[in-house]
Subunit: 414 residues, 2 copies
């Protein structure tokens, strides 16, 4: 187990880990390699490499064998090293308001499985962490307990958790020092410590809406783009930005707060303390309020969506006006950050084209003409598993644990 080293995480440990990651990256890229090939490609000294490989074999992330019949001059078979397909590299957990979602990938970065469990809104943190542990155990034993709400399932067999390098965790609300081992969820003191005790590996924490943004950019609707604006239209309105493939956080973790961009300085007061924010026009409550003001009769989202699907003019008119507000805010953000793809998620996005088309229309109208062709509006695809998958992406793509290693460059003549 690496866990003890992780907890006393000094520069030497980090350097060692960066070498480990370089070796894993080479094996991921090239498949099985001999020690000599690894040495040539990594540029590491023999002593360093021997040490690093021994550690990786010891913790189960790499296996040694002679998969190909190759012989050296003197006839001794050359041992090849390869990734262990059953070793879990990273796990993601999403602590949503009323459910826990988990997902895991192996060292080849294949999703091994995901699982979900709903719970009461007031459940304590130790109880939620127990649920996460239980769900992960089901992945580890390979039992096919999946979520009731879609998302990827167990695929590549049982998970072997001993070589886990880190866990990426999403929670509701603002995070200080997001994405780092020093992250803290506001109002949830000690959560990283609880998680670290339970799982024995470093824990990287971030806002779960932002993690959903990252997941849509890595595994979901925007998997073909590395510059993504994700907007979630739900009980609140928020989102996240992925910039050059990395999650954007901003100073003090306050970014992606699209719901608090002013739409009407003379508008209604917002929960944030401001006035006329987009959230006062486009949250689920605000949309239902506008719908009833327009003479609509349904009390809940399902009713509104049914009415829109049936072509009711009050419902369509409200979605048109909401889309106009949302599109205007998205245009402002696009001018600032220039995303290639905009992904719209959250319950309200289930309205589909009756909402997305007005959004896109207002967006293009307010974008400078030369930018209009460059942006693409899409419906989110990952559903509830999104944030847990985002936790994994956080570990694999952004972990400060992994960010310092020499990314091996493919050699021309090798």
């Amino acid at each position: 187990m690496l866990s003890c080293m992780h907890e006393h995480d000094g520069p030497l440990t980090r350097l060692r880990r960066s070498h480990e990651q370089a070796v894993l990256e080479l094996l991921r890229k090239h498949g099985p390699l001999s020690r000599a090939e690894l040495g040539a490609r990594s540029g590491l000294s023999r002593t360093t490499l021997h040490d690093i490989v021994a550690g990786l074999v010891g913790n189960g992330s790499v296996v040694a064998g002679t998969p190909h019949v190759e012989v050296r001059k003197r006839g001794r078979p050359v041992e090849k090293l390869s990734l262990n397909p059953a070793a879990g590299e990273a796990v993601g957990i999403d602590f949503a308001r009323r459910a826990v979602h988990v997902a895991a990938v192996n060292f080849a970065h294949e999703v091994i499985g995901s699982a979900s469990e709903a719970h009461a809104a007031d459940l304590s943190w130790p109880e939620r962490i127990d649920i996460a542990g239980r769900l992960l155990a089901t992945l580890a034993t390979g039992s096919s307990v999946g979520s009731a709400d879609g998302g990827p399932r167990g695929a590549a067999g049982a998970l072997h958790l001993d070589a886990l390098s880190a866990i990426g965790v999403g929670v509701v609300g603002p995070i200080t020092e997001p994405g780092s081992e020093n992250a803290h969820a506001q109002g949830i003191d000690g959560l990283p410590d609880l998680l670290r005790k339970q799982f024995g590996v470093p824990v990287l924490l971030d806002n779960n809406t932002r993690l959903a943004a990252l997941a849509e950019a890595v595994w979901g609707a925007a998997a073909d783009s590395s510059d993504v604006l994700y907007l979630r239209l739900s009980h609140g309105v928020g989102g996240g930005l992925v910039v050059g493939g990395a999650l954007h956080r901003g100073r003090n973790g306050l970014s992606g707060e699209f719901g608090h961009i002013t739409v009407d300085p003379a508008g209604r007061p917002c929960d944030c303390g401001g006035t006329g924010c987009l959230e006062t026009r486009a949250s689920l409550d605000a949309v239902l309020y506008r719908y009833r003001e327009a003479g609509g009769r349904a009390d809940d989202l399902a009713g509104l969506l049914d009415a829109a699907a049936a072509g009711e003019s009050a419902a369509l008119g409200v979605l048109e006006r909401v889309g106009n507000d949302v599109g205007g805010v998205l245009a402002a953000v696009c001018h600032a950050v220039g995303p290639g793809v905009i992904v719209v998620g959250g319950e309200l996005a289930e309205a589909g084209p009756t909402l997305l088309e007005p959004i896109e229309r207002a967006l293009r109208q307010q974008l400078m003409p030369m930018a209009r062709q460059h942006v693409d509006v899409r419906h989110a695809t990952l559903g509830e598993a999104g944030s847990a998958l985002g936790g994994i992406a956080l570990v694999l793509h952004e972990s400060p644990l992994l960010s310092h290693y020499p990314r091996p460059v493919p050699e021309e003549n090798a």
Copy 2:
């Protein structure tokens, strides 16, 4: 000269360069080191290290000597390697509308000097490049030709250009693939090739307003922050974002277009083809127009600023309203990206507090309360040298040539 290798830039060359950068970084950090110390700290094999050091000594970026009297057991003095203080590592050039600005740093990342020359607006590209070459030659010979308009001057002696690793170049207008060797300035075909021929090293191109943003974050008003929003209020309104210390570009290089965020959907047509953009309210022409509409009598910026300084109510009222428009747009961008510092530059910013205070007031009013304490509005400090310095920052911080090397981590016991 590295130039031939740079032009045929394959993966092996990149790997080699990443090792070179690792060695330079260690010497920058620790001062003179022996080959043995470099080996231990870099993790590179003896053969690789020998090869890399020979190249660096050969191109003049590293010098060998025995600066400290240290003897080994057998009495032979230990040769130490150190950075050559006269070797230019990176050069920045800003091709502004009517002037060329250059700046250079050595391998210790000290600014060696800067210089500027004004020219007619219609000067050809070969002529502008000649000016840049001449200005750099004045730095290289150590003659103290400086700019007439401020900015840092020659400091650390004459520049030795043979070891130059790259040139960062700013130009007006949109750039495709900004910051890379494949960058192209729209409407200026072949500029990178012309520059590469003239200087024999890789050329990284970006928009000069964005480079000014980067420079303010690295050397200027926001040198203490790595998340910076830079706004330039000039003949046009534009800017740039620095995110986690790196320049943000967005998909297709369209980012930082704060001037084209809609302020009034029913407003005046903008040069971009849109309607009611911030630029129609806050460009120099727009501000003078608003001033004359309000009964002001000056025809130019200097007159407006004088009137404001004298407390004329028409001038102050216009700056207040402009500040209100600008602050509202900045608030929207802040919610999206969460910068720690906002830097306002460009000629209009010379109005000082009569403009910056209204900007800050409107900004805070439209920010969600929890974000209000986290943002700081400052006047730009680098003046006209900003974009050339930004070109250097581009080379040092963001060059794809330099981004793959293993950043050495300080060892605990060494």
